[in-house]
Amino acid sequence: MAQAFTKAMARNIFYGGSAFFFLLLLALTFQTEADFPNLDNRAALEGPMGAKITKGKQLWEENNCIGCHTLLGEGGYFAPELGNVYTRFGNSTDAIKGFIASRPENGIPGRRSMPQFHFSDEELTALAEFLKYVSEIKTARNWPPNIQG
């Protein structure tokens, strides 16, 4: 590097560059927030199922489902993607409820197993409605590429 390029110049590029690109990130974030209402399925949250979905998200979090499953591609890679499980299960919340409710207490020998959480019917409905809500988020290019997630 040429002598003419001093530490002070490098420092100024650092401060100036970071400040500029941080502001750009903020600007893009404002634009994104403005576009969210068309994409993020907030209508479902404001609709009649809103309270159920809220409860479902709480159950999702307090049982750490994300530790095994991905949701829209983020989470653990041990178990199936659940962002589109509602469509994979034939647009049926009952099928989702049935699956979660029927996990054997001690797992399935030799197979990756999902715990039995002992949810009440109301809780199962909340979780299933939450997963339905997520499946109706408009992802770019309709990700995931196919039904298998």
């Binding site: 993020d40 750490n64 829209l72 591609g73 653990g76 399935i108 039995q116 959480f117």
Partner: protein, 462 residues
């Protein structure tokens, strides 16, 4: 060790290494669960092992960064730490909080832990990497604020070097962006959007400032190259980090319900993120080649060069592999992600932490410059075993990920997730074997602290 108060760093380093061991043991448990699904089920379900593995990693890296800060700041500022007692107190608070949290994960079910810690008051639990109870998160904030206060005051009363300022800036950013972990809206898209302000803006933003400061510090010490030169490099590297990495956040805004324009912003800017990692590699090798002294701590230099190379491979090369949106469309959330996550975390943050520990620990233990030859040789063995096995873990997971993406997402007849996982189990077995070699490397690493301590050290060349 030039200042008495630096000795507090030792506590942090020892705890960091202990948690590192725990992290790897749980990694091996999960690796086995990948191929023997019912292993330890239902006593330790996969998600619990994963929480222990990733949270132990984050906490021990934070411990190592803090230890590094308490060691490095007084030396750079040329004055004693402002309040050594506070640093000691903070350490015990942190250790107890971390221990209680891990105990909670293992002894209670996660929903019981959520109830016990009253998650409903301010729900923050149950999101990847941020699984800690809200109270633990608050504890982390307090611990980091105490660190910032302590080193901030030390810097104020002492010499102000670029390394100290950049480290302080990085740690401040770490605290600021962590605050987003308390924001958890019901709206899943917004939840995910701001979750990345913790995760991405940490590892591809402010943590790199911390990494840069630690690397620059050790390089000045072991090479004796002029501080002006090293600090100029450091500014260029971190300038490129933030110029590319801030908008680079967009590589996580492809498929989570965010607008289409992120496909472009994310791909273009994140594709430039390898540049600062490459510059760091060039920088480290340049400085070592231009060295003005032969420092007797050979193994610290080895770790420093290793960091530069492996961070570039793991973050730069393996990051680039899947960062363009047309590729990421198929690889998002597969074993490709896991492959990259492993090598990037190991190459950048694990290795820089071990670099710092390797440099500072002999001095903290009362030696003049370095460990005796015997101990250094053992540590070098552990360097190679851990690093090479991590390369293999990454390669096996990459193989698994390519097959997974193909069979599940690209081929004419996409197969279900569980069927695909069965098909690629050979790669998971190989990963587990590589993981066992990693463990052997780690055992040798720990052993290196206990051998040859009675022997004289190599001559100091300063």
């Amino acid at each position: 060790m030039k200042y008495k108060s630096q000795s507090v760093a030792k506590l942090y380093f020892i705890a960091a290494i202990a948690l590192f061991v725990a992290q790897i043991l749980f990694g091996l448990i999960m690796g086995l669960q990948y191929v023997m699904g019912d292993f330890l089920f239902p006593a330790i379900p996969f998600n619990v092992a994963r929480m222990v593995h990733t949270n132990a990693l984050i906490i021990w890296l934070l411990m190592a960064f803090m230890g590094a800060a308490y060691y490095l700041v007084p030396e750079e500022a040329e004055t004693e730490l402002f309040a050594p007692w506070l640093a000691t107190l903070t350490f015990w608070i942190f250790l107890i909080a971390a221990g209680a949290t891990v105990a909670g994960y293992l002894l209670l079910s996660y929903s019981e832990l959520a109830k016990l810690t009253m998650n409903e008051l301010l729900p923050t639990m149950g999101r990847e990497f941020l699984e800690q109870p809200t109270i633990t998160k608050l504890g982390i904030v307090v611990v980091v604020l105490s660190l910032l206060f302590n080193i901030g005051m030390t810097i104020l009363k002492g010499r102000k070097t670029s390394i100290n300022l950049i480290l302080l800036l990085g740690l401040t950013g770490l605290a600021v962006f962590f605050l987003f972990s308390f924001y958890n809206p019901v709206n899943v898209v917004r939840d995910k959007y701001y979750w990345w302000w913790v995760v991405h803006l940490w590892v591809e933003g402010v943590w790199e400032l911390i990494l840069g400061a630690m690397l620059a510090f050790v390089l000045i010490k072991v090479t004796g190259v002029d501080r002006e030169v090293i600090e100029k490099w450091l500014y260029i590297v971190i300038a490129m980090v933030l110029i590319t990495g801030l908008i680079g956040t967009g590589h996580h805004y492809f498929w989570i319900g965010t607008p289409d324009y992120w496909l472009w912003w994310g791909s273009i800017f994140s594709a430039m993120e390898p540049i600062p990692f490459f510059m760091m590699t060039v920088f480290a090798f340049n400085m070592v080649n231009k060295r003005r002294r032969e420092h007797p701590n050979k193994v610290a230099t080895l770790w420093a060069l290793g960091t530069a190379v492996m961070a570039f491979l793991g973050a730069g090369v393996w990051g680039f592999l899947h960062t363009l949106s047309p590729v990421n469309y198929y690889t998002h959330g597969t074993q490709i992600t896991a492959a990259h996550g492993h090598m990037a975390f190991y190459g950048a943050y694990v290795m820089i932490s071990l670099t710092m520990i390797s440099y500072a620990m002999p001095l903290l233990r009362g030696r003049n410059a370095a460990n005796p030859g015997k101990s250094q040789v053992l540590e070098m063995w552990s360097f190679w075993l851990m690093t090479v096995s991590m390369v293999f873990i990454t390669l096996f997971l990459t193989g698994a990920g390519i097959l997974q993406s193909y069979l599940q997402r690209i081929s004419e007849n996409p197969m279900p997730f569980m069927v695909v996982q069965d098909q690629i189990s050979l790669f998971y077995w190989l990963r587990e074997i590589a993981g066992l070699v990693f463990l052997i490397g780690l055992v040798l690493y720990v052993a290196s602290f206990f051998v040859g301590q009675n022997e004289p050290e190599a001559a100091v060349a300063d």
